[in-house]
């Protein structure tokens, strides 16, 4: 069945769609009441609140889909503030012509990912617009920050060590190859990082700063952290994990893994004395097996990469689109 405008008109067709798809897969005590707003118990401590919209094409790709992505993106942003993700809202904008089977798969995948991430989807909305079978999702997330955690982009300190939780560029490489019709064995790294972040705090690590490496890639994230903290960052190229598949695609298209996006990787700064403990915690968590110590923080400003041949390269944030080269 294809989605039509009537499915978003607010009447019986809308309720039918909600019952068949959303209520079925997202079922929980709060949502099942079907009130105008979710009513939630007052949580302890500080709240973290964030929102993100997801417009990726294709809707389904190797290693994930827009549904999994829409949960991971928001959950990971909460984690990076030291928050425990609690609740999500999900707004769906469906374009007419969307196959309801596709929608069903995406929603199933969202529900599964939310469970993995430990969040409950407590409110939602659906609209249908004219279009060509597309699907856009907005999620907002609420998390609670336990006492004693102080994670901020501005908290880098000279002497901190930097950890990257895995290989660079998979998500970007998968989406780009799908759009270009290239066949690869790559899979998106799209994943919720709740357990990884919690493993760090459980190990008693005082995480100073944490970011998920998304659009703009590690170069952009590192520059943002250095600037926000008024410190310099030194990264070691030889220590940066990059898979053979991504390296090969970069070679063909003239892309740089340092400016390619991931959807399931953390970049974090921890006190030097806690670096080994932090690395062990990340490695023992799901999706962290390839984590590595990749650099350090010092006085000064800017981000420098010590290259594999011993040269130095100043890194800048990604500018414009990461377009493949011309020759």
């Amino acid at each position: 069945m294809k989605i039509e405008l009537r499915h978003g008109a607010g009447g019986a067709d809308t309720s039918g769609l909600i019952d068949r798809v959303f209520a079925k897969h997202f079922s929980n005590d709060v949502l099942n009441r079907m009130e105008d707003a979710a009513v939630l118990p007052r949580p302890e401590g500080r709240l973290a609140l964030t929102t993100d919209s997801f417009v990726v094409r294709p809707l389904e790709f190797a290693g994930g889909d827009i549904g999994r992505l829409s949960v991971c993106g928001t959950v990971n942003d909460l984690c990076c503030m030291g928050a425990r993700p609690r609740y999500l809202t999900a707004g769906f904008i469906l374009e007419e012509g969307l196959e309801s089977e596709t929608l069903g798969r995406v929603v199933t995948s969202m529900a599964k990912t939310a469970e993995e991430a430990g969040v409950t989807i407590v409110a939602g909305d659906t609209k249908v617009i004219e279009g060509a079978g597309g699907l856009l999702i907005n999620t907002a997330g609420v998390g609670t920050i336990p006492e004693g955690r102080d994670v901020s982009a501005a908290n880098l300190r000279p002497g901190d060590r930097l950890i990257l939780s895995g290989t660079l560029g998979e998500h970007h490489a998968v989406i780009l190859s799908a759009r270009m019709g290239l066949e690869t064995s790559l899979r998106s790294d799209c994943a919720p990082l709740t357990k990884m972040a919690e493993a760090l705090f459980a190990a008693g690590v005082h995480v100073h700063a944490m970011r998920d490496v998304t659009r703009g890639g590690l170069a952009t994230v590192a520059c943002e952290l250095a600037k926000a903290s008024g410190c310099s960052i030194l990264l070691r190229e030889a220590a940066l994990p990059v898979s053979e598949g991504v390296r090969a695609l970069c070679g063909i298209l003239g892309l740089d893994p340092l400016t390619m996006g991931n959807e399931g990787k953390l970049f974090l700064a921890v006190p030097g004395a806690e670096a080994e403990r932090a690395l062990a915690a990340v490695r023992s968590a799901p999706y962290g097996e390839n984590a590595a110590l990749v650099g350090s923080v010092a006085e000064g400003s800017g981000v420098v990469l010590e290259t594999a041949v011993g040269g130095r390269r100043v890194l800048s944030p990604l500018r414009g689109e990461g377009l493949p080269r011309i020759c």
Binding site: R179, V309, G311
Partner: protein
């Protein structure tokens, strides 16, 4: 090459104290790889590695951009181009500027995609911006072949295809360059022997090099050794991919679709036999590519001096001020492989 060998090469290069050398790379991918691998920073003060006219976007004269802009603004007509071209300033505006004024401009990752787009919209006239060097020419030859055999009637090419030896010859004539790092990808197609006549005519070292840190170090060590000893000649330090005779199939495809002719290079002027133009049956696909010789650089723009190796990007009065990646004045600040953009990124975000 293992890490020890790389370290040894790096140490040789870094500790070179012989006579000052002015060397040049003429391939945008080399310019970018020298930065990416950090090899440029290993060079001692007395070795200047200049970035020559190796980026196809950078050497495109304004007349070519202007012609594309005119097509983009013509009703019923759509220009398709590599993304890199969109922001290159023409004498009045860039393609991006034309699009903002209602012009029809799209971009492709690979030229083959352009034909799919054109096939889906038979009512629109498509002009493909066929820009590139010897590396891209075989792809455009295949595209031209495909247009003719598929009977697509709504596609033409505006070509700005150039060949490197003529430009290198003109730079050798200036007498200011002690040796060349020859473009590895170009040599895969043309063969390393394509550079021998130049090496013999000007008695300069010409070293074909690859693109990884190790390969760049090997090529530069060779170049520094031979140039400091005053040796002319041709060396292939990229034999894994470059054969003396090149790729015969690619060369045949190019010879079938194109013939040489004069071409205008930003900074170098019009050079005989340095361009490739559609010939014979393929000539019907040409959208008016010949004679685009006008190159009216914007006021104050010194891309020409940069491309000839006469001016370091940072020493250009516009660098980083009036001319920056967000608002480029000259083409060298636009392209991912442009010397100025690379130098700008090299200076980090802390200006």
């Amino acid at each position: 090459m293992d890490a020890d060998e790389r370290r040894e090469l790096a140490a040789f290069l870094h500790s070179y104290r012989g006579r000052p050398l002015r060397l040049m790379e003429v391939c945008g991918t080399h310019t970018s790889a020298l930065r990416r691998t950090g090899v440029r920073q290993l060079l001692p003060e007395n070795v200047a590695m200049l970035s020559g006219p190796g980026c196809p976007v950078c050497v495109t004269p304004t007349a070519y951009i202007d012609r594309l802009v005119r097509y983009a603004l013509t009703p019923g007509c759509r220009v398709l181009s590599f993304g890199d071209m969109l922001a290159v300033p023409g004498s009045e505006m860039s393609l991006a500027g034309a699009r903002a004024r209602g012009g029809s401009v799209g971009f492709f990752y690979a030229p083959e995609q352009a034909l799919e787009i054109a096939g889906r919209e038979p009512g629109t006239r498509f002009i493909l911006a066929a820009v590139g060097f010897e590396t891209t020419a075989p792809v455009w030859a295949a595209v031209a072949e495909e247009i003719l055999s598929s009977g697509l009637r709504n596609v033409k090419l505006l070509t700005a295809l150039k060949t490197m030896p003529a430009a290198m010859d003109s730079l050798c004539a200036s007498g200011r360059i002690d040796g060349f790092l020859c473009p590895g990808h170009v040599a895969v197609v043309t063969g390393s022997e394509a550079f021998r006549p130049l090496a013999e005519k000007w008695r300069r070292p010409m070293v074909v090099g690859g693109f990884t840190g190790g390969l760049l170090l090997a090529a530069l060590c060779r170049l520094v050794r031979e140039a400091s000893a005053g040796n002319g000649g041709l060396w292939n330090e990229y034999p894994q991919f470059v054969r003396p005779e090149g790729n015969p199939r690619a060369k045949e495809a190019v010879a079938r679709a194109f013939e040489p002719g004069p071409a205008c290079w930003r900074g170098l002027g019009t050079l005989a036999d340095s361009g490739l133009y559609l010939r014979g049956a393929y000539a019907a696909l040409d959208a008016g590519s010949r004679g685009l010789d006008d190159d009216r650089a914007p006021e104050g723009c010194r891309c020409g001096n940069v491309l000839r190796g006469e001016l370091e990007p940072r020493r250009c009065p516009l660098f980083g001020g009036a001319c920056a990646p967000e608002h480029p004045v000259g083409a060298c600040m636009v392209s991912q492989e442009g010397a100025c953009r690379i130098a700008y990124l090299e200076s980090g975000d802390c200006r």
